[in-house]
Each structure stands twice: as structure tokens, then as C-alpha cells.
């Protein structure tokens, strides 16, 4: 329970610098804390009624709900005003700890009708653990997909530079 409170504090940007690094490391490990992190984010998205793209988060929230039903029952939760927290943590955590996450998405091989195949291999830009945290954003996959999609979309080609607006448009 103490750990869950710390996750919540992490998301709210309430940890001090000394605690921050250690907590990010523990959370990014991919274990129980990472699932908790995902679940809290999903709850936040739902509360804000964002048409999110949840994908991998569902297993996380199911698990968290099974073991921690009080998350959705604020009156019984030991954490004060959890709903207030989930409303704000997504942005505040991003602002305080995410830093600059670098996401690399590269073409490694191509088959095109009639053109035969070849590979454009590329080394990846090194990623820090912070980048991992940044990419936990719910829409990360969809952003990657949309960016890749418009490279081949005839209408996007007609729009030229303007076609990027579909990807960068604030939601």
C-alpha cells in the first residue's frame, strides 16, 4: 500500500528529487508497480473521458481492480481524494520527470508490388529509462502508427506538410 501511495505521489509530482530517481527505476521495472502505474493512468483517462487507445493497459487495470477495489471507492481508500489525483497526474508527471523521451521507429525491410525487397537498417538512438516512462502515454502507439501511415497515404501526400496536423493536433 505504501508503494501505491508513492506511485500516486510520483504521478502527482509530489516526490522530491532524492526519491524521484529511485521510484522511477522501480516503477519502470515492468512488475507490479508498472501495472499499477498503467491502471492509474487508465482510470485518469476514463475520468477525463478521453477517447484513449488503451490496448495494453486493460490487463493492468483488471489486475489492479481485483487486488485493490478501493481505488474506485474513494470513501474507503486510505489515499485521500484519489480521484482528484488521477485527474492531474498524467500531465504533472510528464512535466516533472519525463524529460525528453526519444522514440525511434524505423523501416527495416520493404516489400512493394513489383519492386523486390531491400532493407533499410538503422541503428537506434539510445534510449534512457526516462524515455520508457515517457512512452507509457496511452496514445504513444497510435501516434507512431499515424505517423507511419501518412507516409503512404495519397491524401496526405496531396496535403504536403499540412498532413502532419492530424498527428500533432492537440486532443
Amino acid at each position: 500500500m505504501v508503494e501505491r501511495e508513492r506511485i500516486s505521489a510520483l504521478m502527482d509530482g509530489e516526490l522530491d528529487d532524492a526519491e524521484l530517481g529511485a521510484q522511477v527505476k522501480r516503477t519502470a521495472d515492468g512488475g507490479e508497480l508498472a501495472r499499477c502505474w498503467d491502471a492509474y493512468h487508465l482510470i485518469g483517462e476514463s475520468l477525463r473521458r478521453e477517447p484513449g487507445f488503451h490496448l495494453d493497459l486493460t490487463a493492468g487495470i483488471s489486475g489492479a481492480l481485483a487486488s485493490e477495489p478501493t481505488v474506485l471507492a474513494p470513501g474507503r481508500a486510505p489515499v485521500a481524494q484519489p480521484t482528484q489525483r488521477v485527474r492531474t497526474f498524467a500531465l504533472s508527471m510528464a512535466a516533472t520527470i519525463a524529460g525528453i523521451g526519444v522514440v525511434v521507429w524505423m523501416v527495416v525491410g520493404q516489400r512493394s508490388d513489383g519492386s523486390g525487397g531491400r532493407i533499410d537498417m538503422a541503428q537506434s538512438v539510445a534510449m534512457s529509462p526516462r524515455a520508457e516512462v515517457a512512452t507509457q502515454a496511452v496514445d504513444a502507439d497510435v501516434n507512431d502508427y499515424m505517423m507511419a501511415h501518412q507516409e503512404y497515404s495519397p491524401t496526405a501526400a496531396m496535403h504536403g506538410v499540412a498532413s502532419y496536423v492530424r498527428t500533432v493536433s492537440a486532443r
Binding site: M121, H149, M158
Partner: protein
């Protein structure tokens, strides 16, 4: 007598079909011109993007210098978001999430090259006609209307600069004649001297490693088949991508197009549990499902039914 009426009717039909075809050819010529202009011209301007009840202003710059192409888009409303492309490298920067994405794309976009062979597809599935000349952002613009022949694709209206062919305004129109999205320049400079600093990103961007050419070990048949996709949609390309710089996470990306609309299929190993079904993101429809141990995500600027049909038509080749 009956024969004469029939013949006259037939002649009328033929002549109207001919007139229709002439305008078709002209309109299709304009589509090609638009696609070429977007890549070959240098231009800078401000445009407004409307989607649903949301309106946003952005600034864009596109500079072609010999064989080098650089472009930049920056949002002027809300959190600063920008995309900078220098030839094959695309950076996008979102100030609100403090994220930089790096995307290496193939040099040269596919559309202008594939357009001629796809023109037939466009006329098979859209009624194409030239409309009025209107003034957009102080330029005379030729309007073109593309009406879909079925409900599997959206309609379009394009306004192209009569002098250069640059697209100045565009509308995407849904089944109930509703505007799904539209963008329009409010001010644009085509050609002339465009200050280099307008292309300068607002923060230093990382330098990705150089691309390495290698023989393709994966050439051959795709591991996936799309059985009976919606009319007119055929596969135009298939690529495999490394995700997040990881060598293990490989994503298969296929693109289907009817010559105008495109739908992408992304296939990658399903991590944890996947929320299946349709999602809408702006003008883009998305459909996710699990096939075996793979997550299949289909998305594109097409009606939800089209995206879902394609998603449900995908299966592994060996089954």
C-alpha cells in the same frame, strides 16, 4: 420510330459520357498536379485545421533546394507541437509530453509515383469532376469534387492554386454530407525567398544513426493475407519496422489504398491484453483485434466500416 428514339437516347448517353470523361481526365490531371506541387514547390504559410468542433492554426514551411527537401509544421494554438522533416528523417516534438519522436522514412513519398497506375482505381470508385474557381488565401483556386460511388470511402473537395497546383484548401466529407475535417490556408507564399530560420526547430534535435543498406532476408511472400478487402482497396506496400529502437519488436506494416484513401494495417506481438474493437481519433478510424498471439491494428482516413472490414479480413497465410 421506337428505334429512332432509342438511337437518339443512345447518342445522348454517349455524348454525355464523353463530356464526363473529358472533365474526368482534366480533373485527374489536377490531382497529379496537386501531388507534384506539394513536393516540388517551396512554400510557407499559415493554415487553419478544423476537425469536429475543434479549430487549430498552424504554420508550415516547405523548402526544396536541389535534391534536398526540408519542411516544418508548428502549431500556433495550444501546446507547442512541431514536426520537422529533413529528407528521410522526421522529428516530431510535443512540448506538453516532452517527447521527441524520430521516424526514418523512405526517401521520396510513394504517391506521385504510384498515382498514374492508381488513376483507374480513383475513377472506378469516385465520380471526379472539376467545379468552380474560387478565391482562397488571396489566390485563385480550381475546385475539384470527388464523390464516392459507395459508402466504403469518404468524399473530397480540393481547391488547388490555378498557377502552381498547390493545394490551398481541402475538405473530407462523410456519408451524411457532414464535413469530417477541413484545412485551408489563410495566408500563403508560394516560391520566392523563404527565410531559412523558419525551418529552424525550436529545440536541438538528436542525430539518428546513418541508414545502412543491406540485402533483404525477408523478401518473398507476406506472412499475412487480406481476404476480400472492401471494393477498390488493394495492397500498395508492405514494410517491416523496428519499434522503439528495439531489435526484437518488429512491426509489419501494410498499406491498402483505392488510389486516394489509404488504410494501414499494423501487426505486432500482443503484449498483455488488448482492447479490441473500433476507436475514432479525429478523422482517423481505428480498429484493433487479436489474431493468434498478434495484435492487429487497422487505421485510416476511411469510414469505420471500411476499417473494420479490413481488420476482419486479415489472417495468417499458412492457415
Amino acid at each position: 420510330m421506337r428505334w429512332a428514339v432509342g438511337a437518339a437516347g443512345f447518342m445522348l448517353l454517349v455524348s454525355s459520357a464523353l463530356a464526363d470523361n473529358l472533365s474526368h481526365g482534366d480533373a485527374l490531371g489536377w490531382l497529379q498536379r496537386i501531388a507534384g506541387a506539394a513536393r516540388q514547390l517551396s512554400y510557407a504559410g499559415t493554415f487553419v485545421y478544423q476537425q469536429g468542433d475543434k479549430v487549430e492554426t498552424s504554420r508550415i514551411v516547405h523548402v526544396v533546394d536541389g535534391s534536398s527537401e526540408t519542411e516544418r509544421l508548428e502549431t500556433l494554438d495550444g501546446p507547442r507541437r512541431e514536426v520537422v522533416r529533413n529528407n528521410d528523417i522526421v522529428f516530431s516534438y510535443h512540448a506538453d509530453t516532452k517527447t521527441v519522436r524520430v521516424d526514418r522514412r523512405r526517401v521520396g513519398r510513394s504517391f506521385p509515383q504510384i498515382l498514374p497506375e492508381q488513376l483507374t482505381a480513383v475513377t472506378d470508385h469516385y465520380h471526379v469532376r472539376k467545379a468552380e474557381i474560387e478565391r482562397v488565401a488571396e489566390h485563385d483556386a480550381q475546385a475539384l469534387v470527388l464523390e464516392p460511388k459507395d459508402g466504403m470511402r469518404y468524399g473530397h473537395k480540393f481547391w488547388a492554386d490555378t498557377g502552381t497546383g498547390l493545394l490551398l484548401k481541402a475538405k473530407m466529407i462523410g456519408e451524411r454530407a457532414q464535413v469530417i475535417e477541413q484545412f485551408a490556408f489563410t495566408q500563403v507564399q508560394i516560391g520566392g525567398a523563404i527565410p531559412r530560420q523558419w525551418l529552424q526547430p525550436s529545440l536541438p534535435l538528436p542525430t539518428p544513426a546513418a541508414a545502412v543498406e543491406a540485402a533483404d532476408a525477408t523478401a518473398g511472400e507476406s506472412e499475412w493475407v487480406i481476404k476480400s478487402p472492401p471494393a477498390g482497396f488493394r495492397k500498395i506496400v508492405e514494410v517491416r519496422r523496428h519499434k522503439d529502437g528495439s531489435t526484437s519488436a518488429i512491426v509489419t506494416h501494410m498499406v491498402l489504398s483505392d488510389g486516394l484513401a489509404a488504410v494501414s494495417v499494423f501487426i505486432e506481438p500482443a503484449r498483455a491484453r488488448v482492447a479490441e474493437g473500433p476507436v475514432q481519433r479525429g478523422a482517423i478510424n481505428i480498429y484493433t483485434r487479436v489474431v493468434g498471439d498478434q495484435r492487429v491494428t487497422v487505421l485510416g482516413e476511411a469510414p469505420a466500416a471500411t476499417v473494420a472490414t479490413i481488420a476482419n479480413a486479415i489472417s495468417p497465410r499458412n492457415r
